[in-house]
């Protein structure tokens, strides 16, 4: 078991850590989820059919682990809202993720792009992180996300377009004031 872990760690750990960090933007949580990914890898490595590369297999597991996390988090939040029946007030309750002080970005333009990643849809965020932060190819991204290549291209285009529009809107707001 240890040799499998070591091989995955040596080859992909930093990429894996970075991917999950940009998905959840919290270091402690990233550490937990990375461990969860390794656990799933070790538990299912025997059944890995090697139809895809180890790297894309690992990242598709990572993707599912983060999706599971977000779904559980949503369910937990909704149960709390249902319990207290706060109605519309509940809408102002934010996700329990702390503000990401784990990362300091002083450059304003970089900060904007970092923040606006969260406004993108889950697929768009995945594609933008894998393509441009992780420098994965379109084909690798498509395999990890179980998308067609054209779907990756469209999602990438839409994600960038969404960020561009938000930047433009902010600039317009700034100009107006």
């Amino acid at each position: 078991m240890k040799d499998v872990f070591e091989r995955f760690y040596d080859n992909y750990h930093h990429d894996l850590y970075r991917y999950i960090f940009y998905m959840v933007k919290n270091k402690q949580l990233t550490e937990d989820l990375v461990q969860e990914v390794y656990i799933r890898v070790l538990q299912s490595y025997q059944s890995f059919r090697k139809e895809s590369s180890e790297k894309t297999w690992l990242f598709s597991i990572a993707r599912h682990v983060t999706i599971d996390f977000f779904r559980k988090q949503n369910r937990r939040r909704n149960r709390i809202l249902d319990y207290f029946d706060w109605g519309t007030k509940g809408e102002s309750i934010q996700d329990p993720l702390p503000e990401p002080e784990d990362i300091v970005i002083k450059d304003e333009a970089l900060r904007e792009v970092y923040d606006y990643l969260d406004v993108c849809s889950e697929d768009q965020k995945n594609v933008l992180i894998l393509r441009f932060i992780q420098s994965f190819s379109i084909k690798e991204t498509a395999e990890i996300l179980n998308m067609s290549i054209s779907k990756v291209k469209t999602t990438q285009h839409r994600g960038i377009k969404k960020i561009r529009k938000l930047i433009e809107e902010k600039q317009k707001g700034g100009d107006a004031s």
Binding site: E6, Y17, Y22, K27, Q35, I39, N146, I149, K151
Partner: protein, 389 residues
């Protein structure tokens, strides 16, 4: 700065985001993982022993509650409306189901349901049962995000305006962003429908392209088929000369594929504001296999099952009627989930050319708007869209 250079700037910024590093040593991570694996193994063991005990207790409790009710009210299920005990039990069942669904429904899903409710209705309807003489149906089609499934939608208009004109307005009524589906593949196209010759003339925009892949090409013909086959149209004639349609090559006209047997699941994208009954093409399945397939979810494509896993049935096939006999231990509930089940069964039966569906041995008389004692005609159309502003 033009859009392309702005987009490139955003890409460059994404590439410049800090390269976050993990500062926990490799050995420590491995030990933590080992601890978690061991802990999981230990905690999962006693559960296995307790489950049979709990199950047995649960069965005993259920029997204590249920058996006297059966003796008190033997005709409980067939006389639900008139039997007081039965009514109470029915209410209890319903509440249990409702509580269960409330526990799992997210506010987004609740909002999704509310978005689809017409005023004065208690259930989301995924089908249209009848068309009044002064109205006409206009059939559209949308494509889910991964371009594997085409979803038919239906608009009801008054029939004072020309049918082609209505089709040409369709793009204004599609809300792809809210529904989390692909952008309209036929954006900017215009249609001229000839019901005498069963043809439609299609004028595609200048920059129209199907790209190199096959997915978009299949979707293209399926979208056209779903839009025009219900009108009896068999052929699309392109207005442009030598139109290059990617994998199809250069075409002047396209024969529309027939709408073959399908089974229906529920496209329920978590970020969408509504859901849609979605045909799953498996033409080789028998009607029974198709119905069984509707119990299976396909989470990769956000396709929910439409028949609950614990609903068991056998089928008999008549000339025009499909007879579905529920098993003795299948208890139906009058709620949204079962309304959707009935509608998806009716639509699936329609795709196999049945005209009515008869449900036998139902434990209740009515599910939503459907009276279960008697043949139910298959619907006229699917996924009605409220297009009014």
């Amino acid at each position: 700065m033009n859009k392309n250079s702005q987009d490139q700037k955003i890409i460059n910024l994404l590439k410049q985001l800090p390269k976050i590093e993990d500062d926990i040593p490799k050995e420590e991570i491995y030990q933590q993982i080992q601890r978690k694996i061991t802990r999981t193994a230990k905690t999962s063991q006693p559960k296995g022993r307790l489950i049979p005990v709990f199950s047995t207790l649960l069965v005993v409790i259920i029997m204590i509650i249920v058996i006297p009710s059966f003796f008190d009210s033997p005709s409980f299920y067939s006389n639900m409306d008139h039997d007081e005990n039965g009514a109470e039990l029915m209410q209890a069942d319903f509440n249990m189901e409702e509580s269960a669904s409330l526990a799992t429904d997210t506010p987004a899903e609740v909002e999704k349901v509310e978005n689809q409710l017409a005023i004065g209705e208690d259930y989301v309807r995924f089908v249209i049962d009848e068309v009044k003489p002064e109205t006409m149906l206009v059939h559209g089609a949308i494509v889910e995000e991964q371009m594997q499934y085409v979803i038919p939608v239906t608009f009801l208009f008054d029939n004072k305006v020309d049918l082609s004109e209505r089709y040409n307005e369709l793009d204004d009524y599609l809300r792809e962003e809210e529904w989390k589906v692909e952008e309209n593949i036929l954006q900017g196209a215009t249609f001229d429908i000839n019901l005498m010759t069963n043809e439609v003339f299609l004028d595609l925009p200048e920059n129209f392209s199907l790209g190199d892949g096959s997915a978009r090409a299949y979707v293209f013909s399926d979208v056209l088929a779903m839009m025009f086959r219900p009108l009896g149209i068999e052929k699309v004639i392109f207005q442009q000369d030598d139109l290059d349609l990617g994998p199809y090559g250069e075409l002047d006209e396209l024969s529309l594929p027939e709408l073959g047997p399908v089974n229906y699941k529920l496209y329920n994208h978590p970020e969408a504001n509504r859901s849609f009954l979605t045909p799953v093409k498996q033409p080789d399945l028998s009607i029974e296999e198709a119905l069984l397939n509707m119990k299976i979810e396909d989470n990769d494509y956000y396709l929910n099952h439409t028949i609950p896993a614990d609903v068991d049935f056998t089928i008999q096939s008549g000339v025009q009627s499909l007879i579905i006999e529920f098993s003795e231990d299948t208890f139906l509930i009058n709620n949204q989930q079962y309304v959707t089940m009935i509608e998806s069964i009716l639509m699936t039966a329609k795709s196999y050319h049945y005209e009515t569906v008869i449900f036998e041995n139902p434990t209740i008389d009515r599910i939503g708007p459907y009276e279960l004692h008697g043949p139910l005609p298959v619907p006229v159309a699917i996924n009605p869209i409220d297009h009014l502003p």
